[in-house]
């Protein structure tokens, strides 16, 4: 049971990452590969700030760092007209070195006194099990707070403009919306969310690792897609809720696999392959359904022939 509560906690923290991916992938309609770099960037900046004894500030700095990463990709795309995918790859690659230089090492521990989660546990006297419950609750509060903020944001005029930019570039070009600026703002917010997620994971695990960000993009993709199969594709309110839910569901599935040892002794080492399989399968569902429907149609036609 404790395993699943931890999964819940991770699910909500990574859910913020999923919100960021949802924004770039579905709302802006831009595959933004910066994610892989900005997650680590957020983690690195949060780790050095927290290790220096400023755990609260670490979240703020991580958000700013993520926004800066998004801004870089955005400027490459809009002002220098570099293909969106390439722009993301360029930033992501550069950030790896930046992260390494910022941390000064491949793995930086922040010390238990500086972890926000451990600070919270210290305020109460808790059994280990209660600590896990508390952690999950805190993560849920954080995740839902960010979710609510994002839902609200997409109801504002600026949020609406960002949606329109992804929905119909032709229309935006002919309207008074500055498409370059909305793209830039969108990418900044998206990567700020990703970096915030990275920072919270540092507080959750107690350290930042240079390789922690690898696979975050596919993870976010999986969360968004799982969420969409549950909730369907609709407006941003539903989409954001779906992304957050997808993240939690994904973590629960992974935990289930490990807990039941579905793949034998290798279960814990199969994360990435599993992630890839889950994403591929969920993406394939509509096409497979279509084939089934066509087959059925042909069978019926034969019957009546």
């Amino acid at each position: 049971m404790a395993l699943y509560i931890v999964a819940l906690q991770e699910g909500f923290l990574y859910g913020i990452l999923a919100l960021g991916i949802y924004l770039s992938l579905r709302v802006l309609n831009l595959p933004d590969l910066t994610t892989e770099g900005s997650f680590g960037f957020g983690a690195a900046i949060a780790a050095i700030t927290a290790a220096a004894g400023h755990p609260m500030l670490s979240l703020l700095f991580a958000v700013l760092a993520g926004a800066a990463a998004g801004m870089t990709t955005g400027l490459l795309q809009t002002k220098l007209k570099i293909h969106p995918v390439l722009a993301g790859i360029i930033t992501m690659n550069g950030l790896y070195t930046v992260n390494l230089m910022a941390m000064g090492t491949t793995n930086l521990s922040i010390g238990s006194a500086n972890s926000l989660f451990r600070m919270l546990y210290k305020c109460f006297t808790l059994t280990p099990y209660e600590k896990k419950l508390m952690g999950a609750a805190a993560a849920a509060v954080m995740g839902l707070l960010v979710l609510a903020l994002m839902i609200l944001f997409f109801k504002t005029h600026l949020g609406m403009c960002i949606r329109a930019t992804g929905d119909n570039p032709d229309m935006v070009r002919a309207s008074s919306i500055n498409a370059d600026r909305t793209k830039l703002v969108g990418l900044c917010i998206s990567n700020a969310l990703v970096a915030l997620s990275g920072a919270l994971i540092v507080h959750y695990s107690g350290y930042a690792d240079i390789n922690a960000s690898s696979g975050t993009l596919v993870y976010g993709l999986a969360a968004v897609i799982i969420g969409e199969t549950i909730f369907g594709r609709s407006g941003p309110t539903r989409g954001l809720i779906a992304a957050m839910t997808g993240s939690v569901v994904y973590k629960l599935i992974v935990t289930l696999v490990v807990d039941w040892n579905l793949f034998g002794e290798y279960s814990a080492n199969m994360m990435k392959l599993m992630c890839a399989v889950i994403v591929a399968c969920t993406l394939a569902i509509p096409a497979v359904r279509q084939y089934g429907w066509q087959k059925k149609l042909m069978r019926e036609a034969k019957k009546h022939a």
């Binding site: 005029h157 329109a164 929905d167 070009r173 002919a174």
Partner: protein, 264 residues
């Protein structure tokens, strides 16, 4: 109102594909004037609209709107004053957003800051009333995604979005060409109504010569990047389709290819 002074535009300048799309185009529009623009394909009509909207910068010449030089203003800044409807109904609206959201997008951009709420009950009523006037049954479908509407309905929404906040200049680029004849007629009637009520300075490209002569107050004909004919007043009233075509071929000094200009 709108003044074009010696606009020049050559695409792919300096290459073998160099193509001069606008040659010394000068035009003066009075406030509230409704000008129809005709000409064969490739005459430079849409290029002229693109130049006015700022899709590209012209090689030479000046564009003045309300006495202000907008020659080098970016496209989105000009769009605050210029409404534009394209031939393709898919171009003017965001398909994944509802009618209400699309209209809010067009409305709030002139009325509030970036973090103000885009939707409200007051705006909902305003949009619904605006839609109800055109009897397309759209007022009951405010929460419907625009992508689910027909081309004609989308064009009405686009037209309303462009004129919800009265623009200084309205550019209609064959906005009824992709619609069936009955819908096209209806959209034209709505266009006339909107333009007349708000006294909007308007330019409309059309391939329907009959409607070019009956709509609005002035007709210009373009050919090879130039304005070759400018009709208004009595001269225009007495103009018939046949005479116009004759004048066109005389100006071109060659017979008009029926393929290139659809007879109204």
């Amino acid at each position: 109102m709108l003044e074009l002074r010696g606009l020049e535009k050559t695409f792919a300048r300096g290459t073998v594909n160099a193509h001069t799309a606008l040659r010394q185009v000068s035009l003066h529009l009075q406030h509230g004037e409704f000008v129809t623009v005709i000409g064969s394909n490739g005459a430079g009509k849409s290029t002229l609209f693109n130049a006015i909207c700022g899709t590209f910068l012209c090689d030479a010449g000046h564009i003045l709107l309300d006495g202000k030089d907008i020659t080098f203003l970016p496209e989105h800044t000009r769009a605050r004053q210029i409404g534009r409807v394209f031939q393709d109904p898919m171009k003017g609206t965001a398909p994944g957003m509802t009618i209400e959201e699309n209209m809010a997008l067009a409305y709030t951009r002139a009325h509030s800051g970036p973090f103000s709420m885009a939707l409200s009950k007051k705006k909902f009523r305003l949009f619904r009333d605006a839609l109800a006037r055109y009897e397309m049954g759209l007022e009951d479908r405010m929460k419907t995604k625009v992508g689910l509407l027909s081309g004609g309905q989308r064009q009405v929404v686009t037209l309303l979005m462009c004129t919800l906040v009265t623009p200084r200049l309205l550019l209609l680029d064959e906005h009824t060409a992709a619609l069936d004849p009955a819908t096209a007629e209806k959209i034209m009637a709505i266009t006339n109504q909107i333009v007349r009520e708000n006294n909007i300075t308007t330019m409309m490209i059309t391939h329907n010569i009959r409607s070019a002569l009956t709509t609005g107050s002035r007709t210009i004909m373009m050919d090879a990047g130039q304005i070759i004919l400018d009709l208004s007043g009595e001269e225009r009233e007495q103009m018939t389709m046949e005479r116009l075509l004759k004048m066109y071929s005389e100006k071109k000094k060659e017979e008009l290819d029926n393929d290139r200009m659809l007879l109204g």
